[in-house]
Amino acid sequence: MENLIALLVAAPLLGAAVLLCGGRALDRVGHWLGTLLAAASFVFAVVLFTDMLGKGAEERTLSQHLFSWIPVEGFQADVAFQLDQLSMTFVLLISGVGTLIHVYSIGYMEHDERRRRFFGYLNLFLAAMLLLVLADNYLLLYVGWEGVGLASYLLIGFWQHKPSAATAAKKAFLVNRVGDVGLSIAIMLMFTTFGTFAFGPVLEATGQTSEGKLTAIGLMLLLAACGKSAQVPLQSWLGDAMEGPTPVSALIHAATMVTAGVYLIVRSGAIFNGAPDAQLVVTIVGAVTLLFGAIVGCAKDDIKKALAGSTMSQIGYMILAAGLGPIGYVFAIMHLVTHGFFKAGLFLGAGSVMHGMNDEVNMRKYGGLRKYMPVTFVTFGLGYLAIIGFPGLSGFFSKDKIIEAAFAKGGAEGWILGSVALLGAAITAYYMTRVMIMTFFGEERWRHRATASPAQPSAEPAAQTEGAHDEPHPHESPKSMTIPMIVLAFGSVFAGGFFSIGDRFTHWLEPVTHHDHGDSPLSAATVTGATMVVLVIGVALAYVQYGRRPVPVTAPRGSLLTRAARRDLLQDDFNHVVLVRGGEHLTRSLVYVDHSLVDGVVNGTAASMGGLSGRLRKLQNGYARSYAVSMFGGAAVLIAATLLMRAV
């Protein structure tokens, strides 16, 4: 059974190799091959899962040692896999959602001539992500981590002919690098502290290590997680990453890649448990990102960017939960899984809408689409209900638990974190309702109406004729796209309930994360009630603002906060002012120092050497007699020196 673990990674890796090296010959079957191999990985995962279920809770961890990678005395790095309950959860999510998105992409990318390459990249991404969650040591995890970064770069910049996509890919890559530096430093620290990278020994040894070292490692791991999971302050790449094809947004930036940071923190739980300061920072980062993403999501008119803000916010919830320690690990993972379902469903729904609307992304030019794309409407709607935490759906169970756990943290921290989480839930309800109403309800703003431009009557006829051509014809997407959406909608609806009833998920992860209930100052019912109240408030606000009044096609100027949120709360401006300008000034001054000081010294040395040589050259007049004089003089000096030494 252990031998199947390597196949989990090998199948998509093989697909990537074949598709990327195969050439045009594979153009016609490439997408089927890629999907098949992704599905194969999922099948292996299911087989391993059923096998695992048949064993006792303590015997479920499987490991497979492939080969010794860097066998150096005192530095042993192996290519070895470890499959426990945590990894299993991720493997199922990654391969399952990944396979669905492969299927979806067959339809979505039908008209793209580089579809084969796209599937190659998708497979590469799957392989890297699976390697990340299956590795049994941090160094191999780092390989997967980098592989995910690479695949994400390739996929975001897939439409590289668009400068914006190329820039976004570069941005994502660079920001991720910052986080990767954190991970590499963390691994180095681990090696100096523990002398090994393997999960088992490292996590066991945390008990005997000083808190300072653990805090340092924990903060570096957090930096890594911030980079990959788009948490403040490394969040800026996620919004731009929506330049990639929609399946990429769904796969990478909703369901899998961004969860790598959560995985890292939960996996390294023992380190964080030993470093309360690092844990506190983790919760703060999570709480800040939660609000940050939610606020950004409220202001965006681009449907994908609104969902991206939502993703950031939901990952913030997970990081917050992961920072709570054993109280929250389980709920972080549970929310991660349910979020994987409904966010993938929402993104696929958004992609379906765009597919039917000539790739229009501005929600202000949508409206009333429910009649034209019923399947999309229903699945998107179910995802919507799940994310806002409608009672009985997935999000309700998982998010509610996180809010409870935040309160259970205890003390002032618990109250603050819990309130933030509650506020986040309200904002989530608000912006998701906004997206829902602007897209599927209200008047059909995509129709070109004669009254649309009263200010320019002269341009009217032209606009009309042109408009008749351009007017989108909303239609339902093909089966290959709708079926994955339906499957994901099922997950969005039932996953949470399935996990929560009888605390199934908690027991499942118990051996890995050691669940701790904590003692909440508020009863579960109180928290649920409060959540319901803020939910209703959020939905009502959105309805009042967007459902009752017509939505203007051009965005109003908005308040200061709205304008800031539209610009991603000035994150890029901040980066520009602090990092770019600062860097420019630094380089300029360094260049100045280089020119004046370093070059001055070098040139001065060269010039003085040149001058000296020019003068010394005159001694080299070629006359043997001159040389003889120097020789004779030298001999005289030697004799004088000898005599002097003897005299002394």
């Binding site: 050259r617 080299q620 007049n621 070629g622 006359y623 043997a624 007699r625 003889a628 004089v629």
Partner: protein, 99 residues
């Protein structure tokens, strides 16, 4: 008289010979000056021999003579071939090492 005067005489002859090497341009005269220096050394060696009361100094002087003979043969041959190719026996004319 103290026999050490022979050493002073040898030093004087050596210095004169060295100065001659430096100021004369005719290669043959330069060579003669070198011979003068060698002879001055020989005189010193002979004086040393007398000073120490053994014959080793004279042996060295003898070897010096032999080596000087060999050197003169080769050196004069070089001068002759140099004269043939350059029609000059001036050491300054062979200043090809200059830049």
């Amino acid at each position: 008289m103290n026999p050490v005067n022979y050493l002073y005489l040898a030093s004087l002859l050596f210095a004169i010979g060295a100065t001659g090497v430096l100021i004369r341009r005719n290669a043959i005269v330069v060579f003669m000056c070198i011979e003068l220096m060698l002879n001055a050394c020989n005189l010193a060696l002979v004086a040393f021999s007398r000073m120490h009361g053994n014959l080793d100094g004279q042996i060295i002087a003898f070897f010096t003579m032999v080596v000087a003979a060999a050197e003169v043969v080769v050196g004069l041959a070089i001068i002759v071939s140099l004269f043939r190719s350059r029609h000059s026996a001036s050491v300054d004319d062979a200043s090809l090492m200059k830049l």
